[in-house]
């Protein structure tokens, strides 16, 4: 299925920050938000939204979900510009979009089935809870109360609610949080299936390494602005991060400057017995030259795209500065709540 699912044109929204004054206790001033966003989402496309804490990811998702109004700009849904004459813009968005917020802590004595039915009333959509729960792998817990669910099961329930009414656009905020690796993989497969059926998906995730190879397009957001927007390959090229190889070997470090021709040495490290280097735009003969010079190569591979590196490059900041730390397992996000979020 093709066609434009959603378009944002110069969309701006700023949070109002309370600054009470003696003369006006309700005084607010514009705070952080998102500024002049232009974005196109095609049907069936999977977009990854990445940015540091407080960059505006959640705000952007809430705007798209019709929770927050826009201050300026236009929104086109399936090619048609949303017009307030046809009803509130946020409501028109809500009718077409499924939203799964980050870490919903479902609690209470209501059962999973009852919760699904309650939300079907809010969506004005008749739903078959069994079918929906089967889709997210929660069938066996349909009669369990919300208090009995684990965090992973709560994530699945959030996903089930987002899928109600078969939305054409799905917004997923940290969908893999709390899921075990197998469950995360099954959610990933389900997202791909939905994408094949024409559902456009935006995923905001801190588990950035998991997004590579899974998303069609990447949005890098920083301080409320899109700093990069395109396929991972395009962004790599634009940011000068493409065509890099990593070479590792034993023994002395080769004289790389002579052996790699027109390539650029980005990084080289040496310890007692091994060496490694990263070279960009290396000649085809580079490896051959190193081997012919008598060096022992143990590893040679294309450097995999690194979204964190892209973000650093796009923002001109160091990893520590932007505060996005990626753990080795890539399973547990580090999260700090900013004022905005």
């Amino acid at each position: 299925m093709t066609g434009r699912a959603l378009e944002l044109i110069d969309v701006t929204f700023r949070h109002r920050i309370s600054r009470p004054k003696f003369t006006n206790p309700w005084f607010t001033k514009p705070g952080p938000g998102v500024f002049g966003l232009n974005l196109t989402l095609e049907a069936g496309q999977i977009i990854g939204l990445v940015g540091p804490n407080g960059a505006g990811k959640t705000t952007l998702l809430r705007i798209l979900a019709g929770i927050m109004p826009i201050d300026e700009g236009k929104i086109r849904l399936q090619g048609v510009e949303l017009d307030p004459k046809n009803g509130p813009i946020d409501r028109q968005l809500r009718a077409n979009i499924g939203h799964m917020p980050e870490q919903v802590r479902w609690t209470g004595s209501a059962s999973v089935n009852q919760t699904i039915r309650q939300f079907s009333a809010l969506r004005d959509t008749p739903v078959a809870p069994e079918k929906l729960l089967k889709l997210v792998g929660l069938s066996s817990k349909s009669t369990a109360t919300l208090d009995e669910l684990s965090q992973g099961m709560r994530q699945r329930l959030s996903l089930a609610v987002a899928l109600m009414g078969a939305p054409r656009i799905l917004l997923l905020d940290e969908p893999f949080n709390g899921l075990d690796p197998v469950a995360a993989k099954s959610v990933e497969q389900m997202i791909k299936q939905l994408s094949n059926q024409g559902v456009a998906v935006i995923i905001s995730s801190h588990q950035v390494s998991g997004l590579v190879g899974f998303i069609d397009k990447l949005l890098l957001i920083h301080r409320g602005q899109l700093v990069a927007n395109g396929s991972i390959k395009d962004i790599e090229e634009k940011l000068g991060l493409a065509d890099r190889i990593e070479i590792g070997g034993k023994g002395e470090l080769p004289d790389l400057a002579k052996l790699i021709g027109s390539g650029t040495i980005l990084e080289q490290t040496v310890d007692e017995q091994n060496w490694s280097c990263t070279i960009q735009h290396a000649d085809d003969a580079s490896i051959k030259n190193i081997v012919q010079a008598g060096h022992h190569i143990t590893e040679w591979k294309r450097k995999a795209p690194d979204i964190v590196e892209m973000l650093c490059q796009a923002t001109g900041l160091e990893v520590e500065e932007i505060g996005l730390e990626v753990q080795a397992s890539n399973m547990m996000p580090l999260k700090t709540l900013s004022e905005e979020e």
Partner: protein, 275 residues
């Protein structure tokens, strides 16, 4: 005005609240305060302070309304103070706000659900109390009086519930909303007498003098500014020989204002609320 989806939301809240631990804790208090007071005040030998001896059903029910003021309203506050703040705290509010149902209808479902959750048990106990008093005094009551009595109870509970829900829309933690609700209950239940005395004193009225007509008039007027006061004005419309300078129509208009204004406030809050 009400569609099935609003009713579905309300029904879900009612079911949840009626089965909640809070309700289990509050129910004995309500039973003690409403039918308990009705039983005591309908005793043929009862003598109230000031030598008052209630001798008809509506008069006894008027004094029984103390149970509504003290227990019913407090239970209403405790049942609804986290109506929105809990959802905000858990993230469920964001899921609800992203659904296509208009916010106004969501607000209506929330208000209706929380109100009925306290109204159902209180009305049941009020009915039992009325029957007890009728049985003990061996008197009947007219339908208009009964309707006015039940409507008054319904209205005061609505005011407290809607104020608690409004507070809940502002607060980002449970403590703030419960503090607002309990604070409001405390102000109108206990401190309003102080406010009345201060205003009367500032107006040159002899506060200490019992049955001072000027004091009764000021008290009657200031009661229109308090939900508990309006509630008593409404119940007084059923009593003969009570004149505090406020005609019944004024009491009902005041009740309408107390109903509509907070409702509009709540609706407006819900239309602009953010997770």
């Amino acid at each position: 005005m009400f569609n099935t989806d609003i009713v579905a939301i309300a029904r879900q809240i009612i079911a949840e609240k009626l089965r909640s631990t809070r309700m289990i804790v509050m129910l004995p208090i309500l039973i003690l305060f409403i039918p308990g007071i009705a039983w005591g005040f309908s005793d043929p030998d009862v003598m109230l302070p000031g030598g008052v001896r209630p001798d008809n059903v509506m008069e006894v029910m008027f004094y029984t309304s103390l149970g509504i003021v003290f227990a019913g309203t407090m239970c209403g506050v405790l049942l609804s103070y986290d109506g929105i703040s809990k959802d905000r705290f858990t993230g469920v509010l964001e899921v609800k706000l992203s659904q296509p149902m208009p916010r106004e209808e969501q607000a209506m479902g929330l208000a209706l659900g929380h109100w009925l959750a306290i109204l159902i048990p209180v009305w049941a106990l009020w009915l039992i109390s009325t029957l007890i008093v009728m049985f003990r005094l061996e008197q009947g009551i007219a339908l208009p009086e009964t309707v006015a009595s039940f409507a008054s109870v319904g209205l005061i509970l609505f005011w407290y519930v809607i104020f608690s829900l409004i507070a809940s829309t502002y607060s980002r933690d449970q403590g703030t909303s419960v503090a607002f609700g309990v604070g409001m209950w405390f102000l109108f239940t206990f401190l309003w007498a102080l406010v009345t005395s201060m205003v009367a004193f500032a107006s040159g009225v002899n506060v200490g003098e019992v049955n001072n007509p000027e004091m009764i008039r000021i008290e009657g007027f200031l009661d229109l500014l308090s939900p508990n006061g309006v509630f008593h004005h409404l119940l007084e419309t059923n009593l003969a020989d009570v004149d505090r300078g406020v005609p019944p129509i004024t009491s009902w208009i005041s009740a309408a204002i107390w109903t509509v204004m907070p409702w509009l406030w709540f609706k407006s809050r819900m239309s602009r609320i953010q997770p």
